[in-house]
C-alpha cells in the first residue's frame, strides 16, 4: 500500500470548477468569504498517470473523526491498485461527499475537512447541497471542468448551461468510451461513423489527433470487407490499408529514405513529359580513354557536356516555382544521382559550365567521399538546377527518371552499346550509341525546347573536343 496526500484549501479559493450547486448558490458564496472558516477539501488524487477517476474503497475515518496530519483517511482504488490517501492537515472529517463504493473523477472533492468543530455544520450543509444537487454528477459531466487547475474566485461561471444531457442518444462503443476518457475527448461532441451512427474507437482517435495504430488482430476473412468499408467511408484516404501478407517484415524508413519518399510523392504534382535521343559515343569513348589517367570520370564528362548544352538552352535550366512564372537560374548546378548505403543522394557540381573537366572530376571525387561519410552540407546536395542520372554501368539501355521537385529537367543516361547504323549514303557501320532520356516540367519546358537541347547535347558528345577546352 502506498500513501499519497492530497487536499486543498477551500476557504481561500475553489480549486475546481465542478458545476455543482454548492458554488452556484449565492448564499454559500456570500457566506464563504465572511466567515473565515478553514474548510479544506480532500479530493480525488491521481494515483497513476493513466488514472482518470478513482473509486472509494472505504473511508478509514468516519464523519466527526479528528484527523492528524499524515493519517490515512480513505482508501482509493485506481486502475492499478488500492492506496491509502492521507491528509496534509489536522482537522475534523466534517463530511464525506463521495461514499464507499462510489466513483469520482481525479481532482473532484471526496470529503471536507473542518479545522474546528464550529465549521462542521457548515461543511455538512455544503456537502449536502453538493450531493443532493448532483446525484448523477457522473464522470461525463464533470469531465469538462474537473481537470482545470486554475484557481477561480467565487462566483463561479455558470457552467451548468453547457451540460447538454442527451442521455441515450449518444451511442459509443465500450472501447470508444475508454479512449475518450483517456484522451479527454468529449464524446458528446463527436459524430459517429460506425454502424447505426455509433461512435467508434477510430472516431475518438481521430478527434484526439491520434493516427490509429495498425490493427494487430486483423481477422483474415474479415479484413477485405473491413478495409472496403473504411475506404468507402473516407474516400479521400483510400488505399491507406493493404491486405496483410503473413510473414512480411516492416522496416521503417531512414531519414534519407523518408526524404526520398516525400520528394517522390511531391513530384506527382508536376506535369512532366519525356523526350529520348540516341547519341553516338565513339568520340566520347575515345576522349574518355585519353583523359581517364588524369582522373577524369565519365560522370564529369557527362556533367560538363550537359552544363555546356544548358548554357545555350537556359529554359531547360529554369525552374517553375509557383506555376505562374519562369525562374531562370543564374548558375548551372548539375546534381548527380548516387546510390549510397541503401539510400539515394544527389551531390551537386556547382557551376559545372565554368569549371574545367579536371577540376570538375576532382570536385566530384570529394563530393562522393563526403556523401559516403554523410558529411554533405545542404547546399552540396540541394542546390541542383538540373539532374543527371546514369544507370549505363549496369547495362541499362534506357530508363525513365522522375523529375525532382524544384528543377526543370532530369537526364537519364543509358549504356553505350555497339549498334548497327546506316548513314545517309546507305552505308552500314557499327557505332557505339547510347540512349538519353530527359524528363521535363512541361509548364516551362516544351517539346521543341527539349529537343533542341538534346540536339545541342548530342553535338557536344559527338564532338567532345570542346569539353576539354
Amino acid at each position: 500500500m502506498a500513501s499519497l496526500s492530497f487536499s486543498s484549501s477551500v476557504s481561500s479559493s475553489t480549486p475546481f470548477l465542478r458545476p455543482s450547486a454548492f458554488f452556484l448558490k449565492p448564499r454559500s458564496i456570500s457566506r464563504l468569504p465572511l466567515v473565515r472558516a478553514k474548510i479544506r477539501e480532500i479530493f480525488m488524487p491521481a494515483l497513476s498517470s493513466t488514472m482518470t477517476e478513482g473509486k472509494i474503497v472505504s473511508w478509514v475515518k468516519s464523519e466527526g473523526d479528528v484527523l492528524s496530519k499524515g493519517e490515512p483517511v480513505v482508501v482509493v482504488e485506481s486502475d492499478k491498485a488500492d492506496m491509502d490517501v492521507e491528509t496534509f492537515y489536522d482537522g475534523i472529517l466534517a463530511a464525506i461527499v463521495v461514499n464507499d463504493g462510489e466513483t469520482a473523477p481525479v481532482g473532484a472533492p471526496i470529503g471536507l475537512l473542518a479545522e474546528t468543530e464550529d465549521e462542521i455544520a457548515e461543511a455538512k450543509a455544503k456537502a449536502a447541497a453538493q450531493s443532493s444537487s448532483a446525484p448523477s454528477a457522473t464522470a461525463t459531466k464533470v469531465e469538462e471542468s474537473a481537470p482545470v487547475a486554475t484557481k477561480v474566485e467565487a462566483p463561479a461561471p455558470a457552467v451548468a448551461a453547457a451540460a447538454p444531457a442527451t442521455p441515450g442518444k449518444v451511442v459509443a462503443t465500450p472501447y470508444a468510451k475508454k479512449l475518450a476518457k483517456q484522451h479527454k475527448v468529449d464524446i458528446n461532441k463527436l459524430v459517429g461513423t460506425g454502424p447505426f451512427g455509433r461512435i467508434t474507437p477510430e472516431d475518438v482517435e481521430k478527434a484526439a489527433g491520434i493516427t490509429p495504430a495498425p490493427k494487430a488482430n486483423v481477422i483474415a476473412p474479415v479484413a477485405p470487407a473491413a478495409s472496403a468499408a473504411t475506404s468507402t467511408a473516407s474516400p479521400a484516404k483510400a488505399a491507406t490499408s493493404f491486405p496483410e501478407i503473413p510473414g512480411s517484415n516492416v522496416v521503417p524508413f531512414t531519414t534519407m529514405q523518408a526524404a526520398v519518399s516525400k520528394n517522390m510523392v511531391e513530384s506527382l504534382s508536376v506535369p512532366t513529359f519525356r523526350v529520348g535521343y540516341p547519341i553516338s559515343t565513339d568520340a566520347l569513348d575515345a576522349l574518355y580513354e585519353k583523359v581517364k589517367p588524369k582522373g577524369v570520370t565519365m560522370t564529369a564528362l557527362l556533367a560538363k557536356a550537359a552544363a555546356m548544352a544548358l548554357v545555350q538552352h537556359p529554359v531547360v535550366n529554369a525552374t517553375c516555382k509557383d506555376g505562374k512564372s519562369f525562374t531562370y537560374n543564374s548558375s548551372i548546378n548539375i546534381a548527380v544521382a548516387v546510390a549510397i548505403n541503401g539510400g539515394l543522394i544527389t551531390p551537386v557540381l556547382q557551376d559545372a559550365d565554368k569549371l574545367d573537366l579536371y577540376l570538375l572530376s576532382q570536385k566530384w571525387k570529394e563530393l562522393v567521399e563526403k556523401a559516403r561519410a554523410k558529411q554533405l552540407q545542404p547546399q552540396e546536395y540541394n542546390s541542383g538546377t538540373f539532374t543527371l542520372s546514369n544507370l549505363g554501368m549496369f547495362g541499362v539501355d534506357r530508363f525513365d527518371a522522375i523529375l525532382p521537385p524544384g528543377q526543370g529537367a532530369i537526364m537519364a543516361v543509358g549504356a553505350s552499346k555497339p549498334t548497327v547504323v546506316a548513314d545517309k549514303d546507305g552505308f552500314f557501320s557499327v557505332k557505339n550509341k547510347m540512349l538519353v532520356n530527359v524528363t521535363a516540367d512541361h509548364r516551362i519546358i516544351y517539346g521543341a525546347d527539349l529537343a533542341a537541347f538534346l540536339q545541342t547535347f548530342s553535338k557536344i558528345i559527338e564532338n567532345p573536343e570542346s569539353l576539354t577546352m
Partner: protein, 575 residues
Amino acid sequence: MQSAISLSLSSPSPIARSGVANTSNACWPMPRSLRFCGLRREAFDSAASFDASSLRFVRLNLQPKHSSLSKVSAVLKGNGAPSSSGFDYDLVIIGAGVGGHGAALHAVEQGLKTAIIEGDVVGGTCVNRGCVPSKALLAVSGRMRELQNEHHMKSFGLQVAAAGYDRQGVADHANNLASKIRSNLTNSLKALGVDILTGVGTILGPQKLKYGKGDSGEKIITAKDIIIATGSVPLVPKGIEVDGKTVITSDHALKLEFVPDWIAIVGSGYIGLEFSDVYTALGSEVTFIEALDQLMPGFDPEIGKLAQRVLINPRKIDSYTGVFASKITPAKDGKPVQIELVDAKTKEPKDTLEVDAALIATGRAPFTKGLGLENINVQTQRGFVPVDERMRVIDANGKLVPHLYCIGDANGKMMLAHAASAQGISVVEQVTGKDHVLNHLSIPAACFTHPEISMVGLTEPQAREKAQKEGFEVSVAKTSFKANTKALAENEGEGMAKLIYRPDNGEILGVHIFGLHAADLIHEASNAIAMGTRIQDIKFAVHAHPTLSEVLDELFKSAKVKVSSSSAVAEPVPV
C-alpha cells in the same frame, strides 16, 4: 466388445484387480473417481472401461443367478442382475449428463444393475452446451490473446506477425471436442453395460417410472432407487426475446455462428466472464449488464477486484451495474439489438443500449418439467426439486420420498458439473448401505478466463460471518504470483492466492486463486478440505521446484497457526 469381455473371464488378472478394488472401496468413503466434467473416464478410453467391466463380471458371476430377466428389451450386459427381486433395475438415473454419468459409473462399480434415461444427447449441458465446448473456445482465445500481446511477445524475444483467426475453424474445434467427449462418455457407459434408455423419463409413482418418445413406445419400468439428474437450461428472464441469432444464450454462443463487433453480456458470473474473454480476444467489444451493484458478485471480493483489474478494465469492456435488462429486442428491420435498462432497485427506466448482439448469461434454470413429480406429491421450488443434505427428495408435506434422489443442477445446491457427479456418487454410496454426506465446501469451482480464477470453500465475508456466529477467529494469508519463478518465466506474474483459515486449529476455510492455471492449482486445497488436512500438516508437503504449485506451498507456509503439526514423525526411510 462383449466377446472380448467373456475372454477376460478366464484370465487371472481381473480377479486380482477385483481384490484391489474391494479394498479401495472399503478404505475410502469418498469415491476414487470424482469425475471432473466427465473428462476423466475417456482418458482410459475403451481399454480401461474394458477392464472395469470385466471386473464386474467376475464379481457378479460369484452369485450365478440370471433370475428375472427384465421385461424390457434392454440387453443384460456386464451390468448384472438386480440384487433385490421384483425390480427391473437397482438404480435408474433420469438424465445422462455429467451427474448421471458419474452416478452410473459408481453404481456399476458397486454392483448395482443400472439404467440411465436420456431424452436428448448423452453428456448433457456440460459436454454439449457448456463447460466442454467453452473450453475449446477459451483455448483459442488464450492463444489469440497471447499472440496479440506484442509487449508480452517482445519480452520473450519473440516476433509474431499479426495473428488472425478463421471463425468457422474455431467453431469446428468446439463442436469436434463436444462430439468426441460425447462419444467417449457414451462408450464408457456402454462398455460398463449401463442400459441407455432413450426418451423422456417420467415418474409414475414410488419406484416406478416410464420412458419413451410420445405415446408410442412408452415403457414402464420399476427400480429400487431413482435418481433425478435432469440438469438445467439457460435462464432467460421475461421481456427478453431470444432469436438465436442476435439475442442468444450460451447454447447458441458456443456454436460461434458470428462474432459481433459489439456484444452486450447480461450477467457477469462465470458464464458471462468466460464469454467476455472469448469475445474480446476475437475482436469484439463487450458491455456487461449486471443486476447487482458490482461485477463478478459470486467471487471473493478481493479476488473479484483484482480479476476486474486484469480481466475487465484493460480490455474493450464497459459495464452497467445495478440495472436489469427489462426488454431486449433482437436486431431486425435494419435496427440493431435494443436493450432497455431499468434500475434494479427502483425499477425506473435508466438507459437504452443499441448493440450488435446480446448474450443472456443470467444463470440457469432447473429442467424439471414433465418429470411427473406431482405423482409423488413433490412441489418444485422455483423449478428446483427440494432435497435434504443427502440428496433425498422432500415432498410437499416436508417428508422424505423414499428411494428418490435428486442430484445436480435440478436440486440447485451447487450448479457445477463435478458437484452433480459427486452428489451422484454420494447417493450411490447411500443406496448401497454406506451413509454418506457430501461436503459441498470441499467442491472447487473454476472460471477459465485468462488468467483463471478458482476457489474452494468460503469467501472471506462468509468466513467472517460464520466466525462471528460460532465464535472463532479468522485469519487470511496471501501470496502473489509475482514471487513465483515459474509464473515469471512464463511472463505471467499477475495473480494472487488467498487462504482463509482458523489460526486456532489450522482448519482451511477457503482458498481463492487468481492467476496462471489457477483452475488446476485449486485441487491441493480442495483435497485438503475434503480430507480434513490441517495447515500445520500440509505445510510440510513438498512441491517440485520451480512449479506454479509453489504458490500454494508458500500460501500454506505463510499462515500463522497456533498449533503445531499433529502427525507423528514418520519412520525414517533410508534412500
